[in-house]
């Protein structure tokens, strides 16, 4: 607030209004509609029918659910997301670290090399990848290969989203911390583990949620790279909506939402301190 000009009540907070509106219209309202559909029948009455159908279609209780198709699909999605995230992290961290610490003047040019693929249409890239798998002979060779190919596709697609936040946090680390560590007798490896890694945690967390959540729903990748033989939760939702079963689809969307909250919570996304420390990094 500028107190010298009391007539003009323009504050930075006003700038948030367009976003608040956007949030209300495109996030909150649709979410409420999803919740409404998940718990009402065709005639608008409140019901738990779709909860029952999802968890216990044949009435076999928990045992029935644990062997059900829905449970398998969720587990498969989680596995693919988990593996994609791990592989992304293993590739992205060294890349981000090397770029951030290299002696080149134009680090952004180097970074660009990893972002440029994102400029090519994503369906086109996935199709190219499919042709590559065909050429290698692993395309739709077996169920296991289909999963592997899908994970490779997810990693290919989401890698930049892991590199960027990690890079932003590493580049911001005050070099004097590392010098201090060195002065106090830490080896470079120890300095990395004790200083760089903890200070780049925010980037890692941000990267994980950027990769883990979309790879549970990005069924274009799994459809293309497995000839629709690998089904993830996103495709499950789509199937119910195309089959005109909005209630079932809405309820599964809520399950997915639950996973999103869980991941955000586990990675400390709701942690206030973390947020303030990593203003730049959580942008990505």
């Amino acid at each position: 607030m500028t107190k010298t000009k009391p007539k003009l009540h323009f504050s930075r907070k006003l700038l948030a209004i367009p976003y608040a509106l956007f949030l209300a219209v495109f996030v909150v309202v649709p979410l409420l509609i999803v919740v409404y559909y998940a718990f009402t029948s065709d005639d608008g009455k409140f019901t738990f029918e779709y909860v029952r159908v999802f968890f216990d279609k044949n009435g076999n209780g928990l045992k029935g659910f644990l062997t059900s198709y829905n449970f398998k699909t969720i587990m498969r999605s989680l596995f693919i997301s988990f593996m994609s995230t791990i592989v992304c992290l293993l590739i992205a961290y060294p890349v981000a670290y090397i770029i951030a610490n290299c002696k080149l003047k134009n680090k952004s040019t180097l970074l660009l090399l990893f972002i440029v693929p994102m400029w090519v249409n994503f369906v086109l890239r996935i199709n190219a990848l499919k042709e590559l798998f065909v050429w290698l002979g692993t395309y739709n060779k077996s169920d296991a290969w289909n999963i592997v190919n899908t994970i490779i596709g997810m990693v290919y697609d989401f890698l930049p989203f892991m590199i960027l936040p990690i890079y932003t946090t590493i580049i911001k680390i005050d070099k004097s911390y590392l010098e201090a560590a060195k002065d106090l007798g830490a080896t470079p490896a120890k300095a990395f583990v004790k200083v760089t890694l903890p200070l780049s945690k925010a980037g890692i967390v941000s990267g994980i949620s950027m990769v883990f959540l979309p790879s549970m729903t990005n069924y274009v990748v799994s459809n293309y790279l497995s000839f629709r033989n690998v089904k993830i939760i996103g495709k499950l939702i789509d199937d119910y909506f195309t089959g005109d079963l909005w209630h079932d689809g809405s309820f599964i969307s809520l399950i997915l939402l639950l996973f999103m909250f869980l991941v955000t919570w586990l990675t400390g996304g709701f942690d206030e301190d973390e947020q303030t420390n990593t203003r730049g990094a959580s942008l990505w």
Binding site: L14, L21, N140, F227, G243
Partner: protein
């Protein structure tokens, strides 16, 4: 600051609600004809057109309509993805004058009172511009449309004017699998062809295939009885239709078992990818709609796609298969004059030929010009050693025989115009009601 926020928000909200309203009134104006159809489902002119460099047919219609009536009209042609998208859009309040849904969606829309009957003047052959009623094939109009009952007891022909039609069947590579085996629905669960066959990624086509497997023996026995003269064609068709539209709880759970077995045996499910991939040899059999089958067979001969031409063939299962069609229907409050004029415009023989050439599907319109086009496309040339006679009189009227090469009786010509005895075992698949749709989708969604 809070006080300032409120009017801002109100204005924004008002603007947001007002925008779609103004958009709506625009399209409601009488001089716009809104048509919802499919992508690449009308001659769009240009280099790929039969009349090279021409304009899209819906644009040419605007001039034609002006010549005929002196009224200006603008066509808004909206290509949609599939029947379900079309249904959802209408349900959410989108308005069109003319729609081109498939048979089951026509029945569903009629049952939900969302479309209106065609005006009686549309069926008056004496009116100059009534090209549809004069040119439509008797087979389509009299044997299919007039015999298909809607849920309210009226006939399908009262609601729709046919556009494209066809069958479903198997595109197969005759070098890898014999015609005798793809004649059976059970090929889908045959372990000798594990990972060699694809099916469709949608509940209706898959359930139909499942029914085909479930009732195969019974239907073949029925066919033998028909051939022996023990039952009439009429009663054969009736029983066939009942069996292939059976969606009772008991049958569905049996079909589910067969579909589960099928799913484990397939190369995969597809909606579009199957066309190219069978040409490149990734699998040998693909369950296809006839129009796509023609396209696939054409690709097999295209030397830009394959090094060696691949002579794929098309086969319709012996027991029963699906007869599908897309038809024009008028929405409630449609601009009836312009919409029916559009249907008639598309039924002018030269436009029919243009559409058939561009889309590759088979039109519901018969007539000599269309027959000549078919003859020009598939007729035997002079070098043909042993041309065979192919009877199309059921579609084009008596005396329409075509001399063609022998292999065309199993290839594109057969896919576009199956033989008379094949036609008799095609069944129109009725729409699922709400409860059945839920049951079928939940069943299918836990298999694929």
């Amino acid at each position: 600051m809070k006080k300032r926020f409120l009017p801002f928000a109100l204005i924004a909200c008002l603007a947001a609600t007002a925008l779609p309203l103004t958009a709506c009134t625009d399209t409601q104006e009488e001089n716009v004809l809104r048509i919802a159809s499919w992508d690449e489902y009308i001659d769009e002119g240009g280099a790929d057109s039969y009349v090279e460099g021409s304009r899209a047919l819906y644009e040419e219609f605007e001039d034609w309509y002006f010549e005929q009536t002196g009224k200006r009209i603008t066509v808004d042609y909206v290509p949609l993805q599939d029947n379900e998208t079309m249904y959802n859009k209408i349900k959410m309040g989108d308005r069109y004058d003319l729609l081109c849904p498939s048979e089951y969606m026509i029945m569903k829309l009629a049952a939900e009172d969302m479309i209106q009957k065609l005006p009686s003047s549309f069926f008056d052959p004496s009116l100059d511009n009534n090209y549809y009623v004069r040119n439509v094939s008797d087979y389509i109009q009299k044997e299919v449309f007039e015999r298909t009952e809607m849920t309210d007891g009226s006939k399908l022909s009262e609601y729709t004017a046919g556009y494209m039609w066809g069958s479903t069947g198997f595109v197969y590579n005759p070098e890898k699998i014999s015609a005798d085996e793809v004649k059976r629905w059970s090929v889908l669960t045959n372990e000798a062809y594990v990972r060699k066959i694809t099916a469709k990624d949608n509940v209706r086509d898959s359930y139909f295939a499942g029914l085909g497997m479930y009732y195969e023996a019974e239907l073949l026995a029925l066919k033998t009885r028909l051939n022996d003269g023990a039952i009439t064609l009429e009663s054969y068709k009736k029983q066939l239709s009942e069996k292939m539209n059976d969606s009772s709880v008991g049958t569905m759970s049996e079909v589910q078992k067969l579909l589960e077995k099928m799913r484990g045996n397939l190369y995969g499910l597809e909606t579009d990818e199957g066309k190219l991939d069978i040409v490149t040899g990734r699998f040998d059999v693909s369950y296809q709609w006839s129009g796509d089958a023609v396209y696939t067979l054409d690709m097999g001969e295209d030397d830009e796609i394959t090094d060696e031409p691949l002579a794929l063939e098309y086969c319709i299962p012996e027991a029963a298969s699906n007869l599908w069609f897309d038809g024009w229907v008028l929405m409630k409050d449609a601009n009836v004059d312009a919409a029916t004029a559009f249907i008639n415009f598309l039924s002018i023989p030269e436009n029919v030929v243009r559409n058939m050439y561009y889309i590759g599907y088979t039109s519901c319109i018969a007539g000599d010009e269309v027959f000549s086009y078919v003859e020009e496309t598939y007729g035997a040339d002079e070098t043909e050693e042993a041309p065979v006679s192919y009877d199309l009189s059921y579609f084009f009227g008596d005396g329409h025989q075509l001399l063609t090469s022998e292999d065309q009786t199993r290839r594109q010509l057969f896919a576009q115009y199956p033989t008379r005895d094949t036609i008799d075992r095609l069944v129109v698949m009725k729409p699922f009601d709400r409860e059945t749709n839920e049951r079928a989708n939940r069943m299918w969604n836990t298999i694929k």
